[in-house]
């Protein structure tokens, strides 16, 4: 069966057809209407209220699918999407282990290639499975140049096992294994700058995205899907349980992380910075921190609290400076990010 026939079959299977020109007026369908209906991640899964990861996965799948197969690392995503006897996935999907999503995806991709198929392989992991235990497999996959899009849903701790710190946990956040107290003000180390390490593999495309900017996120997925080679996306995905914020605030929290500079949205091609989401009015980091219980100890009487807040502000300012985030352009908050990005890049080459 040719890829074209199979795609048609998939489109039929997933319901709404790409719209044809209107029978009476002859008007062409809008680009949106021309999209086949594919929800990516079906509703009814068991994610917590306000789960950023569930939203991010749906946004990614919506524009990556349906002609994909997924290797999913151990984590919340795997657990909540596949509660017996139901699956939220409508694509070939396999959960394997914690440390090996990138390696399993490498094998899947090699097999598809050997069979002459163009189906894109996606690998999904959380920050634990990407920054920490799966890091070696990911590096190998990138270096061997597998045609895989790896998406890391970054909620900045091991949430599935009960909120332990990871190398993605931000400085000063409290977790069960970096508890804030007399000895320490939460995690004492810095959040690992994974994207720079990924970029150092000189892969065609690596980017950061946020659930607060869905258009931007989806544009990045589409761009990555069009590339024949390894691509990487890290999506900032708040976890109301682990970050201890109200579940209705997920998008607000994620948006403020971008607007204060702590989670810069950037794109790198072959190791070079090609684009960033500009920030028109940089928020103070405290706007972001104060929404979350994991930073509550930074707002108490402890004299170290001010130091930690200053440190986090300095980290945000560093991001703003090094990525040139204060460039001109429409504020992403006005447009959901869709209008704020152009491939020429406001900061291209600045790094």
């Amino acid at each position: 069966m040719s890829d074209e026939t199979r795609l048609t079959e998939l489109r039929q299977k997933f319901g709404r057809q790409p719209a044809a020109p209107d029978e009476t007026t002859g008007a062409e369908p809008t680009p949106r209407e021309a999209q086949p209906r594919f929800r990516g991640l079906e509703s009814g899964h068991r994610a917590c209220q306000g789960c950023g990861e569930a939203l991010a996965a749906r946004l990614v799948m919506e524009c990556a699918g349906p002609d994909v197969m997924v290797a999913n690392a151990t984590g919340c995503l795997e657990v909540f999407t596949t509660a017996w006897p139901e699956s939220a996935w409508r694509v070939p999907w396999a959960h394997s282990l914690f440390e090996n999503a990138a390696a399993v995806a490498s094998g899947m991709e090699a097999a598809m290639k050997a069979r002459g198929r163009n189906t894109k392989v996606l690998a999904f992991g959380g920050d634990g499975g990407t920054y920490d235990i799966g890091f070696q497999a990911l590096s190998g996959m990138l270096e061997r140049y597998h045609n895989v899009l790896y998406v890391c849903y970054d909620n900045e701790a091991y949430m599935n096992t009960g909120i332990q710190r990871s190398s993605s946990t931000p400085h000063a956040a409290t977790t069960t294994t970096s508890p804030a107290g007399r000895e320490r003000m939460g995690k004492r180390h810095l959040k690992k700058d994974l994207l720079s390490i990924i970029a150092a593999h000189h892969i065609p495309y690596a980017a950061s995205a946020s659930v607060a900017f869905p258009q931007d996120l989806q544009r990045k997925v589409r761009y990555a899907m069009g590339i024949d080679g390894p691509t990487f996306l890290v999506v900032h995905s708040p976890c109301p349980l682990g970050w201890r914020h109200e579940s209705r605030l997920t998008i607000n929290v994620a948006r403020r992380a971008v607007e204060c500079g702590l989670f810069p949205l950037v794109e790198l091609e072959r190791g070079s910075l090609t684009n960033v989401m500009p920030i028109r009015d940089q928020r103070p980091v405290t706007d972001y921190l104060q929404l979350q219980g994991r930073f509550a100890h930074l707002f108490g009487d402890d004299p170290r609290a001010q130091q930690k807040r200053d440190h986090l502000q300095a980290l945000a300012d560093y991001n703003v400076q090094v990525y040139g985030l204060t460039g001109a352009g429409p504020d992403p908050a006005d447009t959901g990010g869709a209008a704020a990005v152009g491939r020429s890049g406001v900061a291209a080459g600045r790094r």
Binding site: L97, D132, T161, Q164, T177, P179
Partner: protein, 379 residues
Amino acid sequence: MSQRINLQGNHACALGAIRAGCRFFAGYPITPSSEVAESMARELPKVGGTFIQMEDEIASMAAVIGASMGGMKSMTATSGPGFSLKQENLGYACGAEIPCVIVNVMRGGPSTGMPTRPSQGDIMQARWGTHGDHPIIVLAPASAAEAFSETSRAVELSEQLRVPVVVLLDEAIGHLVETVDLDAIPETPEVWRKWAEGPKQDYEPYAVTDDMVPPMSRPGDGYRTHTTGLTHAPNGFPTQNPAIAEAALTRTTTKLDLHRERYESWRVRQCDDADLLIVAIGISARAAQAAVDDLRADGVKAGLFRPVTLWPFPEEALREVVASSGAKTVLVPEMNQGQLVLEVERVLKGSAGTVGLGRIDGEAITPDQIAGKAREILG
């Protein structure tokens, strides 16, 4: 003031290790053992110890080995899949004779399996998980209090014998909250490994001594040493000389035979006149205890033999109990498809009939199940 506290099995492991002088923990989150790491993250800083969360289980085990070589009592905790990742490093620790403690809280397997469900599927992995012939001690607590005392004992044994010691809990014991009287657990004098002493030029890191446990050199004490995962001669350097290699391997694999009395531990309950003997560990032994009471109330002479030291298996003790009680049948309830029963069969060599009873559905084995099986056997 009596220290009666409600303690979870996993927390008890952490506190027990600290009481025995463990001051270094490297771990990685995995259900159902994460509470051991969380406890250590809270408690170790209070006593000047070090907690490190590593990037995976391989690194956790390696860091524990490094810390032990650096002169600290060290421990890690994990569950089935993580225990598998640790196995290569564990083999290194066995071969290079590095004292360390590994807590493995068993969950349903294989692979990710049933992470929140109890199992006893790692009985064989605990003994034979790593490669090659190797010495190892495995302790199997059956209560929160025992999780405390046995983890303490694990730290001591690993120090005394320069051998990795595994504390094997099942999820049910790991998460069981029981009132524990810490005062009732005897304080023992702190035990350290034998450190190198005497003339520096004579020191050999793997010297053959009477007790087969060579003294370790403490970094900074000035003893020249050589540590390697390659098969090594008494001077520590790698060798493929057949005679030396055989002697070196024989010493490490047989050193435990010399010290059986130090580590062997088991409990018996109503075994004197038992017609039917039950052999079980962990939560299965708790259920078996209730089954024994139930059967006795019915006039069935049942008894329980519970290995606390699971490996090396207390074989002489079991043979004696079977011989002295005259039990005709031995029932082995366990939460797997039959691992402990194989060892019991090997030990008894047909001197009593051996019947296995497995449960692998993610639920804890129940007293009714065991008593029912016993009645079925006895007709």
